[in-house]
Amino acid sequence: MYLSEAPLSLDALLAEREHPDCGGLAIFGGAVRDHHQGRAVSRLRYTAYAPLAERRMRDIEAIARDKFGAPYCRVVHRVGLLEIGDVAIYCVTRAPHRAEAFAACRWIVDEVKHTVPIWKEEFYADGTSAFVQGCCIRNDLEHSHA
């Protein structure tokens, strides 16, 4: 499971497997903040293009396992309406030592933010809303026509 309409469960991710060879467990959780760039945020909506999002999240996990030597790498992202304090993303990594676990965790979260087709719409206390400026994921800008 990569995308979830239901609240994310850290316990479920932690229970997925036993890891007697992994001494380091790193976790990142990204929660909804009550403000962004000076504006009061009341809630968020995340949407995703699921076919590519799930494929990329799976690929990111696999790359991280190799790149950092972290045998267990998992990342999940919430979609739908979220309230302040709700967790939008959890990443859990396990590696023999803490350095690799931290590095893998950080890298995965950055990759998901920068490359996975997920969008964040902020709803403000004043009743307006806006999509948060993001990262362009075109990989053909040299060949651009449109």
């Binding site: 990204g30 995340y46 949407t47 995703a48 293009y49 076919p51 590519l52 799930e54 494929r55 992202h77 939008a88 993303i89 979260v109 998901v112 933010k113 920068h114 490359t115 996975v116 087709p117 997920i118 969008w119 964040k120 719409e121 999509f131 948060v132 400026q133 993001g134 990262c135 362009c136 994921i137 075109r138 990989n139 053909d140 060949h143 651009s144 026509h145 449109a146």
Partner: protein
């Protein structure tokens, strides 16, 4: 040929809907198809330049060809996490 465009993120707001089916007259590549879409819906033109285009679980390039009956997902800049 008939192409179904699907809109995500801010594209959905700009397009006023989740999808649009269009009969394209002269398109051979993805780039052609986006040009025809922008001609039909000028309000999408600027944001289209920032969109990646996906078919199923893969990104397709502007220079790639298109087939009748395709669905193209238009993916503006992403902001997960």
């Amino acid at each position: 040929m008939n192409i179904r465009f699907e809109f995500f993120g801010v594209m959905q707001r700009l397009a006023g809907g989740a999808a649009l089916e269009v009969e394209l007259k002269r398109s051979v590549t993805i780039a052609d198809a986006l040009d025809e879409l922008a001609a039909l819906r000028p309000e999408l033109r600027l944001e289209l330049t920032r969109c990646a285009v996906a078919s199923g679980d893969a990104i397709v390039l502007r220079r790639d060809g298109i087939a009748d009956g395709s669905t193209l997902a238009l993916l503006p800049p992403v902001a997960g996490g």
